[in-house]
């Protein structure tokens, strides 16, 4: 199953190292392949360096593409992590 959803970076500092690590950590438990698209750049969300390369600041919109057997759960986890500002609220 393939899901596409747009999420907003809500935390003040943007997608810096800690949020990137949080995303990679939550994906470790999931099987689906996850890609982030931002400013014409599509990257593998399992790689910290790739997420950091995006340098997505606060309020930027990221298109998340999830494909695989646990796509729904993976997507909801990612959306929640972005909504909760990666625990930086």
């Amino acid at each position: 199953m393939k899901l596409v959803h747009k999420v907003k970076v809500k935390n003040a500092l943007g997608l810096h190292t800690r949020p990137a690590a949080a995303i990679v950590k939550l994906l470790q438990l999931r099987k689906s392949s996850v890609q982030f698209t931002y400013k014409d750049e599509t990257i593998n969300a399992r790689s910290i360096m790739s997420i950091l390369m995006l340098a997505a600041k606060r309020n930027s919109l990221i298109t998340v593409t999830v494909e695989g057997e646990d796509a729904e759960l993976t997507m909801s986890n990612i959306v929640r992590a972005f909504d909760e500002e990666f625990g930086e609220k």
């Binding site: 190292t17 750049e41 599509t42 593998n44 399992r46 360096m49 340098a55």
Partner: protein
């Protein structure tokens, strides 16, 4: 989208560009990697005139404009300075006619002055724009230079790409980029890979974290970019899969329409991946020099078989 302000930010200094009018037009888009010197177009001949090119105006054009009367000058300029024109550059630091300032400000068309001559500007800007507009793709993998060969290590997350690259660096090879590689096709024929500016020469190693290779191992162990010569895919050893045992058939992978030699390297505990990658790179160099170990051996074998066959025929004829 490539805007005039991006171009100026990147190359303005090296080209010696100085913005003199039309600041409001810096957000104009550059759509074509082309520069035009509007000699003929200034005379009013506009057949086949492409308006979306950057214009470089040299001394001759300026002299010609000066000779025209005011209304004609305006008419000619209006014809070639269109809403699609990204920018106008006056070469050789020429004195710019006053009318041109007001005209560019009203049209919000960036007007620059540069010190070098028109021919020089044309060639340099064309080169820079071609570089910017060449097709590119972002690949997931680690690009290293091994014995002068650009080797892209690909594979699933956690198969050991970064660890293999670190091993190679430790042996004196060079890192170009870890995890994300931007590959460009240059001059329509060859590929060059580079790392994104922000994460250049950084690596993420599980259990250690983010390290800066340039600082840890020194400047000799990194490079900003490198041609992409081979793609190696690391994968978990699969007992069911038949891996290449002789190397007679060469596999290729398509990257931006260029076929690149492709190897699948199975990984399992006890296999020295670093050594194997070095061997792949060396073997590639040998092939480049015209020697293919597998083919050469096969020819020798076929020759030996043929000789044996002949001996047997001669022996049988005698008896």
């Amino acid at each position: 989208m490539y805007l005039v302000q991006d171009f100026v930010a990147q190359h303005g200094k090296s080209l010696g560009l100085e913005l003199v009018a039309g600041q409001g037009g810096l957000f104009r888009r550059i759509k074509k990697p082309e520069v035009h010197r509007p000699g003929l177009s200034l005379t009013g001949y506009l057949q086949g005139y492409v308006s979306s090119r950057i214009l470089v105006i040299g001394r001759q054009e300026i002299e010609y404009l000066r000779e025209l009367d005011f209304s004609l000058q305006r008419q000619r300029l209006e014809a070639i300075f269109t809403p699609a024109t990204p920018a106008v550059i006056i070469a050789r630091g020429c004195r710019i006619p006053k009318e041109l300032y007001g005209f560019c400000d009203r049209m919000k068309l960036p007007l620059f002055r540069a010190g070098s001559n028109a021919t020089n500007l044309l060639s340099r800007i064309t080169f820079l724009l071609l570089e910017e507009f060449c097709p590119s793709v972002t690949l997931h993998g680690t690009l290293v230079e091994v014995f002068g060969v650009g080797l892209l290590i690909q594979g699933e997350s956690s198969v050991g790409k970064s660890e293999a690259a670190l091993g190679l660096i430790e042996r004196g090879h060079r890192l170009i980029s870890d995890d994300v590689v931007r590959v460009k096709k240059k001059e329509g024929s060859y590929l060059v890979g580079a790392g994104p500016e922000l994460t250049r020469h950084l690596m993420e190693i599980r259990g250690i974290g983010i390290i800066n290779v340039a600082h840890l191992y020194g400047a000799v162990c990194v490079r900003p970019d490198k041609g992409l010569d081979i793609v190696v895919k690391l994968e978990e050893w699969d007992e069911q899969h038949f891996y290449d045992r002789v190397g007679l058939d060469e596999k290729f992978i398509d990257v931006l329409g260029v076929s690149v030699p492709y190897h699948v390297l199975p990984v399992k505990p006890g296999r020295d991946v670093v050594l194997l990658l070095e061997t792949i790179a060396l073997n590639h160099r040998l092939k480049d020099m015209g020697y293919n170990s597998a083919k050469e051996f096969n020819l020798k074998l076929l020759d030996a078989l043929a000789r044996r066959q002949k001996k047997r025929v001669v022996r049988e004829a005698r008896t």
